[in-house]
């Protein structure tokens, strides 16, 4: 299993941090030794891969939101995500 995933972003919900078409690298091992933190940009697997920023944390749950609040479907709509859905932390834009 490769520790890195490469993703191309589709959609506007992470503007201005990431624009549609941006390519990012995600570290799948980020949360093996450390815990998710508020502010981390993460990729989650909810049927398909989605990218959001962690806004709140409670025990096994994450409240994730897009940086572009007006054009984002996120925890405000689908409620808290489960930590098990975490794929990894966004490392960099390439």
């Amino acid at each position: 299993m490769l520790p890195l995933f490469k993703f191309k972003i589709e959609g506007n919900s992470m503007i201005p941090t990431f624009n549609p078409g941006d390519v990012i690298l995600v570290n799948r091992l980020s949360y093996l030794l450390s815990k998710p933190k508020i502010g981390d940009i993460v990729v989650l697997k909810r049927g398909r891969y989605i990218i959001k920023r962690i806004a709140k944390i409670k025990k096994k749950k994450l409240f994730v939101a897009g940086d572009n609040k007006r054009e984002s479907t996120d925890s405000r709509s689908f409620d808290w995500a489960d930590k098990k859905e975490l794929v990894g932390k966004v490392m960099l834009k390439i």
């Binding site: 890195l4 972003i9 589709e10 959609g11 054009e71």
Partner: protein
């Protein structure tokens, strides 16, 4: 240096898609589709009413069935489009701006179903007005977002 190595490694990796949204690509919300569907429902009701009371030929029967089918299909499409706007586009801050938002959507969605059940010009006109009202609200939320 680290970024250089990662960038090089990245070239070797397959690309997956990460959606910065969940349901459909963000920003592609437009009440126009629902408005066209509602207008089609009204048009079909008017055309059905223009048909003779009883079909005199297979062709007239065929025309009636096609009009009813089109009315049914566009009422369904209208409801689907309204539900997407209601659940995906509109947010709590819009509800603060338009406190009757839920009531407006609920009535419009009900009118879609009513128009499937009946051939009634008044109901079809009410649907068109309800969807136009939602389009107007949508327009206002867009203009305040700028």
């Amino acid at each position: 240096m680290e970024n250089f190595i990662l960038s090089f490694l990245a070239k070797l990796l397959p690309t997956k898609t990460a959606y910065a949204h969940c349901d459909v690509p963000c920003g592609i919300y437009d009440p126009k589709v629902a408005q066209i569907a509602a207008a089609t429902v009204l048009k079909m009701v008017q055309k059905i009413n223009e048909l003779p009371e009883r079909g005199k030929s297979k062709n007239e029967d065929n025309a009636l069935i096609r009009m009813v089918w089109t009315k049914e299909e566009h009422a369904r499409k209208c409801k689907d489009e309204l539900l997407i706007l209601w659940t995906d586009y509109f947010k709590p801050e819009h509800l603060q701006m338009f406190p009757n938002l839920h009531e407006t959507f609920w009535k419009a969605a009900k009118l879609c179903s009513k128009n499937k059940q009946e051939v009634n010009v008044q109901l079809a006109q009410e649907l068109v007005r309800a969807v136009d009202e939602i389009a107007e609200i949508f327009k206002k939320t867009k203009s305040t977002a700028k």
